[in-house]
């Protein structure tokens, strides 16, 4: 049993490995993981000035993205199309103008609608041709994708039973299911139910913690406001990238429509604490 615990990309990581590793194996594995996270952060973080996305916000042109970018950009585009543009990496500037910027000023300015995908992005793996400077934000799926990438590193190193958890979004693999509590959207000391996670990814999203002015971390590019009809969302899917992107997708687009394009299970909690869930979202709920 090995446990890695560290802070990175603004969240707390816990990686549990059900295997005896020598201390050399441990430190080599941890080095690879930290290296991959640093690479990811350098490419996609809008919270650092020297990242590729920060450069893109200053100048147009062709940018070569890391070798693993294709899966993420391609799924982002599919999600963009399915949600009619509501899940979009072009939300970056809107988030900054709302106050969710690199300095966390949290003081909203005037917001304006972001441009359309085709006006800005042309993707030919591994090159992103940026037609006009734009601040891209990969917050809706980036962390999930990074969890998948780290899981790949573990499997390349013959680790097949593990859990990679980044601040409550996680991927589990192995014979023994993991019992995961779903945090109460109004009280972080409570859970509303439990789920048995096995060989799947679970991502959650709720507006209760990252909240300022009249916003939370999800802002609609159409209405330029944060959706209020949903308190919290959880998604189970085969990849963490998909689960993560869908948590944002469900804030904007009905589950029925998303289910036509993607395979997943979900649960949505509304402000009156009633809920909607798919039949196979296998949760034990504490309800009345």
């Amino acid at each position: 049993m090995t446990k890695f615990e560290f802070e990175a990309i603004g969240t707390h990581w816990v990686i549990d490995i059900d295997k005896e590793l020598s201390s050399e194996e441990e430190s080599s594995l941890l080095r690879k993981i930290r290296g991959r996270i640093a690479e990811f952060d350098f490419a996609y973080s809008r919270f650092r000035d020297d990242s590729i996305v920060s450069k893109m916000s200053r100048e147009a042109g062709e940018f070569t993205l890391p070798r693993d970018a294709d899966k993420m950009i391609t799924l982002y585009k599919e999600m963009y199309d399915t949600t009619e543009g509501l899940v979009t990496p072009l939300i970056g500037q809107v988030l900054v103008d709302s106050g969710y910027d690199a300095n966390y000023s949290l003081v909203p300015k005037t917001l304006s609608k972001p441009p359309l995908w085709d006006e800005v992005i042309e993707w030919k793996n591994p090159t992103l041709n940026l037609k006009i400077p734009a601040l891209l934000d990969f917050g809706a799926g980036g962390k999930g994708y990074l969890i998948d990438l780290i899981s790949e590193i573990l499997e390349e190193n013959r680790v097949h039973s593990y859990c990679v958890d980044a601040g409550g979004d996680m991927k589990q693999k192995g014979a023994k299911a993991l019992k995961v509590g779903l945090e109460h959207p109004n009280d972080s000391e409570m859970v509303i139910g439990t789920i048995e996670l096995k060989n799947e990814s679970l991502c959650g999203s709720a507006g209760n913690r990252r909240k300022w002015a009249d916003f939370h971390h999800i802002i609609s590019p159409e209405t330029l406001s944060s959706p209020k009809e949903i308190l919290a969302v959880w998604v189970l899917a085969k990849t963490t990238l998909l689960a993560d992107l869908l948590t944002t997708g469900l804030f904007f687009t009905p589950a029925e429509k998303l289910l036509k394009h993607f395979e997943f299970e979900y649960m949505i909690v509304k402000p009156d604490l009633s809920f909607d869930k798919s039949e196979n979202f296998n949760v034990e709920l504490f309800i009345q």
Partner: protein
């Protein structure tokens, strides 16, 4: 055996309430429409309510040979009952399923099996309103490996919020 009786009593109670509501709905409906027939038998004794549809022994959970220490009132498990009642138009049924764990109803569903359009409508409204609300439990009361939710917030964000709070008080 005692617990089993209690469990049955619980689901009977729920079924009776459901039927009372539905029958009342039907009663109101008939009054509104000034249909002559009214339904006097709003509440039906449990034995009759369940009629031949007593919870099937097969649907009762496998009994835990070692019941949890303490004073558990009901056996954990999923219970289903079908309630019969007389609507203004004639006999109708509704199916209720409850899941009980540690004396807490963790899941409750109602399935409409009405035959008449008006009853379907009433039962549909009832089933929609039957959607339960989450209440939650303290994390310490549940044995968990992990918690998933709003994602732990970046430290910088929390610091900024704290800062704003201090400034707004100044």
């Amino acid at each position: 055996m005692e617990e089993q009786k209690k469990s049955s009593a619980l689901i009977w109670a729920v079924v009776v309430v459901v039927i009372a509501l539905l029958a009342y709905g039907g009663y109101k409906y008939t009054r509104k429409e000034t249909v002559v027939t009214t339904n006097e038998d709003v509440v039906i004794p449990p034995s009759e309510v369940l009629g031949g549809d007593n919870p099937d022994p097969d649907e009762l959970p496998v009994q835990d040979p070692q019941p949890a220490a303490g004073s558990s009132q009901f056996k954990d498990g999923t219970y289903t009952a079908t309630g019969n009642y007389n609507s203004p138009g004639g006999a109708e049924q509704i199916k209720i399923t409850l899941t009980i764990k540690d004396d807490v109803v963790t899941k409750a569903t109602a399935v409409s099996i009405a035959t008449r359009p008006e009853t379907k409508n009433f039962q549909g409204q009832f089933v929609a309103g039957f959607a339960a609300q989450v209440v939650g439990k303290k994390i310490g009361e549940v044995s968990l490996s992990k918690v998933s939710g709003s994602s732990l917030t970046p430290k910088g964000f929390n610091d900024a919020v704290r800062q704003i709070r201090i400034e707004s008080k100044a």
